[in-house]
């Protein structure tokens, strides 16, 4: 059953990559990359169980943290042009 979940996650990650490559706007690309990151967390967790090494969950936890921070940073960058200039545009 872990193999089934792994296959589904891999297929969805492929579709996310297609959207990230041909997404018309920057927001589509960020959405696809964010979704890809969430799927990566799940894939690491499932792979840990598939190979019988649940220690992989630590990696999944770290990746979940990084993914969220990365998305917020990219969104702030596309909105304000830099990562610290929020005050000038009435933030």
């Amino acid at each position: 059953m872990f193999a089934m979940a792994t296959a589904a996650l891999l297929v969805c990650m492929g579709l996310c990559l297609v959207r990230a490559v041909c997404g018309p706007t920057v927001f589509d690309r960020v959405l696809a990359v964010n979704s890809f990151g969430t799927k990566t967390v799940l894939l690491i967790a499932v792979l840990g169980f598939l190979t019988g090494r649940p220690d992989f969950l630590d990696l999944a936890l770290v990746y979940a943290l990084m993914n969220f921070i990365g998305t917020i940073a990219v969104m702030k960058f596309t909105r304000f042009g830099d990562l610290a200039g929020m005050e000038e545009e009435g933030g």
Binding site: C12, L61, N67, M75
Partner: protein, 115 residues
């Protein structure tokens, strides 16, 4: 008891895999950015939760279960937040939503007016 846990884990992982596939399809098939956020974001949260619950049912070490609960809590908090931030950034940037009328007029829903 063992068989019951196995069947429950099967059901949770099957539901999660199905929702993951639906999210991928929605990301590809839906017409514009806002609908894609709906398709990907809404299913993402439940898919992550149900896959992680399925893994919890298969593990016996308490530490593993605690880690899985941490991941589930974190994903449940951050995935909707990231979706909200994305949509708000796109809206403030002036991305127009797709409607049938605008599509019939031949206006693409993908144009962003540079701010």
């Amino acid at each position: 008891m063992e068989a019951f846990l196995d069947y429950s884990a099967w059901a949770c992982l099957g539901l999660g895999s199905f929702l993951v596939l639906v999210a991928g399809l929605g990301l590809i098939r839906l017409p514009d950015f806002y609908t894609r956020v709906h398709g990907a974001g809404v299913t993402d949260t439940l898919a992550a939760a149900s896959i992680l619950v399925g893994l919890m049912l298969q593990s016996d070490a308490p530490l593993v279960i605690i880690k899985l609960i941490c991941i589930a809590l974190f994903l449940g908090l951050t995935s909707p937040t990231a979706g909200h931030a994305l949509v708000k950034a796109a809206w403030l940037r002036g991305l127009e939503p797709w409607t049938r009328e605008r599509a019939a007029e031949g206006v693409e829903g993908e144009e962003v007016t540079p701010s």
